[in-house]
Amino acid sequence: MSRALLTGNAAAAWGARLANVDYVPAFPITPQTEIIETLAGWIAKSELDARAVILESEHSMLTAAGAAAATGVRVFTATSSQGLLYAMEMLYAVAGWRAPFVLVNVSRAVAAPITLESDHTDVLAARDCGFLQLHAATCQEVVDLVLLAYRTAEDPRVRLPALVNLDGFLLSFTREPVDLPDAEAARRFVGEFAPGAVSFRASRPTSQAVAVLGGGPYSYFRYEMHRALQGAAEVFAEASAAFAGVTGRAYDAVETYRADDAEVALFLIGSLSTTAKDAVDRLRASGVRAGLVRPRLLRPFPRESLRRALAGKSAVAVLDQDLSLGMGGVLHSELAGALCGVPGAPLLASFIGGLGGRNVGVGELVAIAEEAREAARRGTAPEPRLLYTESELREVRKLQAIALGERHELETSHD
């Protein structure tokens, strides 16, 4: 094991390298590009025995990734935001090919308006496609979750592709100390790529991804995928236990922090959980029994783990860094679904924040936890809240004033 100071992007590349990937179909997009550049550099220097190919779009990139995996090689690829949306048709398609590979998404808000900074609306748009979905909170987790993703995805009980998410800028361009697993230990942990029943060979002709007629066979194959994905929770737990044996680092599907005796829990995903731990400490210091519950695994959705982690809490403040327009926070509705019908389930309060890189600080997290706690005392869930400060609104008003002023200037100067 060696210790290095790595960006989240470099950590993702290290995950692919330690997994001994064979093939990297790629397409550049900010903030992901550093990952494929890093891998291409290693390949050029023969430090990684793989082939990298630049496709002409993310749609083609995902097609090539699935086709190569279905031919029997270990594949790694990465994208962000618009790229993930552009590839979306193929995410759904290749999952059905049952050919496992790993896709890293460096999350970035989606257009319009177009921006480069992070939120989770991109990656949550991929929640129903049949990929496992894992969310990293630190650069260390990025490396480790990529390795865990390969082992879980390639397990004969699963055989589905996996998506590992890291937050753009907050992780992608942030250096953190990372313990890199020993190359040989990582190789043994991930194992050789086993194509299983899926591979194209002259002696074993196969027709893959063929049409079906009627709802009977269609439902059969979709149910099979669903069951395999649900079963992936147990496979992930086994893999995590084995990983802990190798590295000493264990990863539960759901991370909890000071949550055992908490009355109010913060619920969110990704790198914001680091800030959330500070908020929990501050709440505890002021006498509020607060905790953090943070799923690493979003697909399969760890329903039972979440029910256990939230049992006995009176309130949960759900902070969504995404927005399902016309509905609200995606995590909020997913958690509400998981807790529906559970006797004594906590009250859920929904907050939207962190869109397009909008900063969510400790103070805001403390405030939403207190608001959720108050709501539980009253016994009614508050209306979902869109977090926004007066000073943020004032800044936007200034921009609008400039835009209007300039337009006025243009129009009057033409007269």
């Binding site: 179909p25 002409e56 097609t63 086709a67 193929m90 002259a202 991804a209 063929v210 049409a211 079906v212």
Partner: protein, 308 residues
């Protein structure tokens, strides 16, 4: 006809392969000109192959649990079959290089799409595969419309043809995209136009494509009984007329040059081809549309005047 490839094993009809590599009983329409071309393509390609397909009529060739293929098949999506071929070819090359695949287990990689995928949303994937020098053979069956969905106008629908989305008195106002020229402009190893009704020319071109490496693309005009409006039994005759009227030039692009492999003199009037198809019936009744007929004839004459 001049014999431009003396090394060929295909000199006459009797030389054509008859191994019936492609199974029968598929869900293609009777008289499908695309299937005729593909069947021969598949015979020459051989079973040590994988066909990567895009959404279109032929996507239903393999319908669970049946498949007509002796080799492998991968359905992708409408836009990205060449990218699927890239992934398969790269994976096979990696496995070979790493000693995880014996030469006997290697596969020839082919792409099969309709004209809708080829000339529209799949064009960028095709162009990029050529840019990368992908070692593959592409067969496009051109039925001159979105055939699988009922013959709506596509970029390759000919001028004047009536389609499900161009029902007006003048049919499709646009011009047929010259996909051969578009492909050739990308400078692949080989491009050819073919048709099932000229089976010896077709077999020779597949044979030549198979002997080369890099991007090789074949464009087959695919007379379509339901889409074009003719009796399935006339499919071959319609195809012959397409060639003999000069509407469908049989040509190949190799080493940067375009060569016409088979042409007939004198050419038959285009009208003989058009009058056999319901999609052009509005040019003849209730009144002859002499202006449009002359326009179509002139376009064909101009093409041949420029190349001969």
């Amino acid at each position: 006809m001049t014999d431009s490839s003396p090394e060929t094993r295909f000199r006459r009809m009797q030389d054509l392969p008859s191994t019936h590599l492609l199974g029968t009983g598929t869900s293609m329409c009777a008289g499908c000109g695309g299937l005729g071309a593909f069947r021969e393509f598949y015979e020459v390609l051989g079973k040590g192959s994988i066909v990567v397909n895009a959404a279109g009529c032929m996507s239903l060739l393999a319908t669970y649990p049946y498949t007509p293929f002796r080799g492998s098949w991968l359905y992708t999506a409408m836009a990205s079959a060449p990218a699927g071929a890239q992934g398969v070819r790269d994976a096979l090359d990696i496995l070979r290089a790493k000693g995880r695949l014996t030469p006997e287990e290697d596969l020839r990689v082919a792409v099969l799409t309709g004209d809708g995928a080829a000339s529209g949303m799949g064009l960028s994937a095709t162009s990029a595969a050529i840019d990368r020098g992908l070692d593959f053979i592409y067969l496009c069956y051109d039925n001159e419309g979105y055939g699988n969905t009922g013959q709506q106008t596509s970029p390759t629908t000919p001028h004047g043809a009536r389609t499900a989305t161009d029902r007006g008195p003048r049919g499709n106002p646009g011009l047929k995209k010259d996909l051969f020229a578009v492909w050739a402009a990308n400078r692949p190893t080989y491009v050819a136009t073919v048709i099932a009704a000229e089976p010896v020319d077709l077999a020779r071109k597949i044979e030549k494509a198979k002997s080369l490496r890099g991007p090789r693309l074949l464009l087959a005009l695919a007379p379509c009984p339901p889409g074009w409006g003719f009796d399935p039994r006339d499919s071959i005759e319609i195809g012959r007329l397409a060639v003999r009227t000069g509407v469908w030039p049989l040509r190949e692009y190799v080493d940067g040059k375009v060569v016409h492999t088979k042409s007939y003199h004198p050419r038959r009037p285009v009208e003989e081809y058009l009058v056999r198809q319901r999609r052009f019936a509005h040019l003849f009744e209730p009144r002859r549309d002499d202006a449009t007929l002359a326009e179509i004839q002139r376009a064909v004459d101009d093409y041949w005047a420029a190349v001969e």
